[in-house]
């Protein structure tokens, strides 16, 4: 099968992951908890795909996920491309088969995204900085714990999934 099918399946898998995370948030909402796991969807394209397909996939994911949020589409696009860029640049500095490296990469990327969205949206007028940052911190803590647990599992699952279909991902990630 051609490379296009590889990228299409990768997009489909990230869509499924996003849907599952949204269902998780549906169940967590009564406890005033929310998981933000956007870095989970961008890590795999950033680590394993060449620049252009990885960028297009991340941009498509940004538009897909951004459609459900009350943020401007350009803001979500910039955030996702920044996450992708961070992952792409980190490719040369980490070992993709090391669990700890994947955890650190995912956690840093997710933490960065939470900070950017917090700065973009700003504090509600009715809330003090202490209360607002406490809520951000609570969601960030749970999100980082979840992504630290899930990111290596999700990346390795996708690698094995595509290898099972005969795609060699080592050839995809080329460095200049």
């Amino acid at each position: 099968m051609s490379r296009r099918w590889l990228y299409a399946f990768a997009f489909l898998l990230q869509m499924i992951a996003f849907t599952v995370v949204m269902e998780g948030n549906y169940l967590l909402a009564p406890n005033a908890l929310s998981l933000q796991l956007d870095a989970l969807y961008v890590i795999f394209p950033g680590l394993y795909f060449p620049a252009l397909p990885g960028l297009l996939l991340s941009a498509l994911l940004a538009l897909f996920i951004g459609a459900t949020r009350p943020l401007a589409s350009t803001s979500t696009l910039v955030i996702f491309i920044a996450l992708w860029l961070f992952t792409l640049i980190s490719r040369r500095r980490i070992r993709r088969d090391r669990w700890g490296h994947l955890v650190a990469l995912a956690a840093f990327a997710q933490g960065f995204e939470i900070i950017i969205i917090t700065l973009k949206v700003g504090r509600p007028e009715t809330w003090t900085w202490g209360g607002y940052l406490a809520r951000i911190g609570s969601d960030a803590l749970w999100s980082l714990l979840a992504i630290a647990l899930l990111a290596p599992i999700w990346v390795r699952f996708q690698v094995r999934f595509f290898q099972a279909f005969g795609w060699s991902l080592e050839n995809e990630a080329t460095h200049s």
């Binding site: 005033a32 941009a59 459609a67 007028e125 200049s176």
Partner: protein, 279 residues
């Protein structure tokens, strides 16, 4: 000879060009893309919602007959009580119409209730939204009021063909005119306080300075028809104490919102009958 860009430089340039290209795309195209992606995902949420309903049905089927009979008896008692209240409300509405005619007053708006299941909850520190399983094809329009068993839920902020997005009253950008029960002086309610693992609350401002509150009798905050969206008298929350503002002209208070709002499964959209007839 010019230096060749590094791999990272090339990636950065590519990303910057992509963002710049998207930035100049016309707003109508961006809006179309956003709506298309939203509608593309909607069937998966609706499908998941139907699966949850099915799961609940099969779990309810495991109840014993005696449990179901008891529940049926309780529901019929409630239904009788509500039927009586319905009759009283109908009689009061007739009396109201007579008074409106006699005093030449404008009629109060009447509503149709469109019940909808909640299919998605996106409740975090930045925004508070629900997605419901009804849309423009069911007569839902932007800005309509959404209520539930315990009072106000919020307002419709986006409408699609089969789904709609509700901005909750706990949302940072939610503002509505309110008053205390039995005191019709208008005040403003603003949402936005949603502590993690805690109960949501809002801020009540422009409370008259002469108002005194008994700590043992919390005051109920209800919607005011002055806002033009919500009918009068729907519960938003309760106030336990008041505090004076720095100007001394008004007071403000924290509004305790019912925690059940975060786990609401079914809501009703208030569709004004006048608007529907006009369409």
């Amino acid at each position: 000879m010019g230096r060749k860009l590094t791999y990272q430089g090339q990636a950065l340039l590519l990303g910057a060009l992509f963002v710049a290209a998207w930035w100049v795309v016309p707003l109508v195209v961006k809006s179309f893309v956003r709506t298309s992606f939203f509608e593309f995902q909607a069937p998966s949420w609706v499908g998941s919602s139907y699966l949850k309903d099915l799961q609940r049905f099969w779990s309810d089927r495991n109840h014993s007959k005696s449990e179901l009979i008891e529940a049926g008896v309780e529901i019929s008692r409630l239904a009788s009580a509500y039927e009586l209240r319905n009759q009283q409300a109908t009689a009061m509405q007739s009396e109201l119409r007579v008074l409106e005619r006699l005093l030449d007053l404008p009629s109060l708006p009447e509503y149709r209730y469109e019940v909808a299941r909640v299919v998605r909850r996106d409740l975090n520190a930045w925004w508070q939204e629900l997605t419901i399983r009804k849309g423009s094809r069911d007569g839902i329009r932007l800005g309509q009021a959404v209520v539930y068993l315990d009072g106000v839920v919020g307002r419709i902020s986006e409408v699609h063909a089969y789904t709609s997005v509700v901005e909750l009253l706990t949302s940072p950008s939610f503002r509505v005119a309110v008053h205390f029960e039995n005191d019709f002086r208008p005040m403003q309610f603003a949402g936005g306080r949603n502590p993690g693992l805690g109960n949501p609350s809002g801020l009540l401002s422009n409370v008259p300075a002469d108002l005194v509150l008994d700590p043992n009798e919390p005051l109920r905050v209800v919607s005011s028809r002055l806002g033009g969206v919500f009918p009068d008298g729907l519960t938003l929350g309760y106030v336990d104490s008041l505090r004076h503002e720095s100007t001394g002209l008004f007071q403000n208070a924290d509004v305790r919102i019912n925690h059940t709002l975060l786990s609401v499964r079914e809501v009703a959209v208030l569709i004004p009958l006048e608007e529907e007839l006009a369409e």
